[in-house]
Chain length 264, copies 2
DNA sequence: CCAGACATTCGATATTGTCGAATGGCTTTC
DNA sequence: GAAAGCCATTCGACAATATCGAATGTCTGG
């Protein structure tokens, strides 16, 4: 085959397969006709694709019979994916130290298609039960991690701020221009703040993590109950130390990073 | 298209795409020609597939340029996959309680293509740094989780014990028949044991988790340093309680489960 | 017991992925 | 510093392949 139109030259069936995975990612469990309707394709076509995915464990049909869900093979794949991430490996001990010292949960995030995906998560050191957050995605404009990543990555910012911004709480900033204004402060301080903008009762601060060639490739955050807002200077200092240590481990030439020239 | 031969009727390009993902899962980073050689396909064909996967974030090429790795989209997909698992959601609080009471790390595992995949992991409650283990896969024959799952699932056992069993440590049982013998004890006690058979210095005990219709769909384990072997009766009792509680939450009619009739 | 909805199978068709050769970029070697 | 080799990438023709619509089977609800 090959591209019929300019721009895209993706293999049709793989493209459709990926779309099916994305669809299942959104609405947990779907039937064949449901998927077919969503993709505007005949059910038999969708059936063939789903069965092929199922053969590799990428989707599974639940015992109930006629509904499909994402499959266990994805878990193994993602586990290996995480292992390939230098950033994550180098961050873990610093994040654990950061959690211990501040008594707060910490997150490491990177960009994924205009959102932030949590690459590592270290829980608050008290013994309470806490959901694992690795793999979680958060809108960039409503998170401290996201603001930091937006501030240093023009492409990410252009992508994320071009579409309508969702209001997750009453305090979410949904005006792209106001978000952009906030980014200047982030670049100045090398710290991004967020107070109940994503989740009610939860606030966070993030700092950039730089790679060998000086690019901001990730961000670390401390997450705290909104009742503890604003964070003490001690916490901010610990956060900065952690971000600097990780960046240093990665071979970054400098920290804090230089804001991109394009960002005037 | 459709199946040319009996048995399989998977879509070729999707099959190849999945194989590429599996290949990248094994050897972290690979080039196009390397993949092409492994699949015995022309590089141009592989290139097209890889690019299609890349467009959806399922693979990524590392900055270095010419090598491909698994992509971040897998992380989000697996995160949603985990959320769809009833077992996991119901297990979390009981596992956390089990960890707190015993002071040991706990794991929840299910079957994936003849191996065991860790679906949830609750760390030891001391403050030490511990790797997240969710997503890890372990050979069934060398783990307590695996032994339990094998004992109650004939298909899994047939699958897993048909191929050569890897020796992970000096104590790994690699003779299929000896493994099978061990399973009778597992069915009798509803507990599977493993002492340094997978990892040197680490031992574990597992118990079955049953679904609504009485099938064993997962297993819970406590993991301890080999120096603490054998586990106390108190620990075993806590483990049984946790397994029973989870099964009850899932609507299981009975616990311990009845061994399958086929297993005579 | 019947009706409807849905998953699934099957076979013909042409759309589509595949392949081999040619190009371009990069690193290595002498 | 120039050349050679390796590897990713692009292109276009071909026919193998995925797609589609209709028919069948299966389950659920009335």
């Amino acid at each position: 085959m090959g591209a019929t139109r300019e721009g895209e030259s993706v293999i049709q069936s793989i493209d459709r397969a990926a779309k099916i995975l994305t669809l299942l990612q959104g609405s947990r469990r779907m039937g064949i006709t449901e998927l077919a309707a969503a993709l505007d394709l005949p059910p038999s076509t969708v059936h063939g694709i789903v069965k092929s995915l199922q053969a590799h464990g990428l989707v599974a049909q639940q015992p109930s019979g006629n509904r499909y869900v994402l499959g266990p093979a994805l878990l193994k794949l993602s586990s290996v994916y995480l292992d390939t991430l230098d950033v994550r490996a180098r961050s873990m001990r610093w994040m654990h130290e950061l959690s211990s010292r501040t008594g707060l949960a910490t997150r490491l995030g990177a960009e994924l298609f205009g959102e932030v995906i949590v690459i590592h998560h270290d829980r608050r050191p008290d013994g309470t039960e806490q959901m694992p957050e690795t793999g979680l995605t958060i809108p960039s404009h409503a998170s401290a991690l996201g603001k930091v990543l937006l501030a240093y990555d023009a492409a990410h910012a252009a992508d994320a701020l071009s579409r309508p911004l969702a209001a997750l709480t009453a305090d979410t900033v949904t005006d792209p221009d106001r978000v952009r204004e906030g980014l200047e402060q982030v670049r100045r301080d090398a710290l991004g703040f967020e107070n109940e903008e994503a989740v009610i009762g939860e606030s966070s601060v993030a700092a950039p993590v730089c790679s060998e060639d000086g690019d901001v490739i990730a961000a670390v955050a401390v997450v705290m109950p909104a009742s503890e807002w604003p964070p003490s200077d001690a916490v901010l200092a610990e956060l900065r130390d952690a971000a600097r240590s990780i960046s240093r481990d990665l071979g970054a030439p400098a920290w804090p990073p230089r804001p991109p020239a394009t960002a005037g």
